[in-house]
Symmetry: C2
Subunit: 105 residues, 2 copies
DNA sequence: GTCTTGTATCGATGAGTGTCGATACAAGGG
DNA sequence: CCCTTGTATCGACACTCATCGATACAAGAC
């Protein structure tokens, strides 16, 4: 990003992912999933830590999934979610700024 | 983030920055500024590339500034903007995911 | 001073978003 | 079968946001 300007298409694509990260509940969900043992977490593990209702958690998980930031799978009664490292690393790389961009900064 | 869950306060703080990045126009503005020679750009350089009005560009620059992602300064007639590398790097580091989080992923 | 150019703010409006309760769907146990 | 538990969808509501035109402010030229 600091090398050459983003094109319109890329910007729209990346903006959709950042929008998925622009909510505190979703950020905490993502970090709960990422830091959970085995790298994945059941939805039942993700409802307790929040003050919002179960449908709201389900909605936020859907947003993260449709943004490509997490994957999910039903196994028996429970549904498990895991992070998609490739997507996160893409955003991470995009934000890496040069050490000193501006003269005197 | 992949090490331990984000606290509520941190999540709210970081979410505000990601929200500033969640718009295609703002992403392109940021990359235009970052990739401009000297690491800074005059507002007059930032209006032409877009199809939106000048007040809208001004609004988006304000959002980026209030999120701490860019700095600005008036020099004579023109106002210059530059990126804040520390802020971008903080977000970048936060998104760095382990190479293989899930077994078999 | 007045005029012109660059930038920011204001007020309005249409679209989008987070949240909820109610409800539907999925799967296993009795 | 019915019942229970886990998860997703639906419909509604309050709120936020991106955008605009109009206007105000800043600074230099004349």
């Amino acid at each position: 990003m600091t090398r050459e300007p983003l094109g319109e298409a890329d910007a729209t694509d990346v903006a959709r992912m950042f929008k998925a990260l622009s909510d505190p509940v979703r950020l905490r969900l993502l970090s709960l999933i990422a830091s959970h043992e085995g790298g994945e977490a059941c939805v039942c593990d993700l409802i307790g830590p929040f003050d919002v209702s179960q449908p709201t958690i389900s909605h936020h998980l859907k947003v993260l999934r449709e943004a490509g930031l997490v994957g999910s799978e039903r196994r028996g009664t429970w549904v498990y979610y895991w992070v998609q490292p490739v997507a996160l690393n893409r955003l991470s790389a995009l934000l890496q700024a040069p050490v000193a961009t501006r003269v005197g900064a």
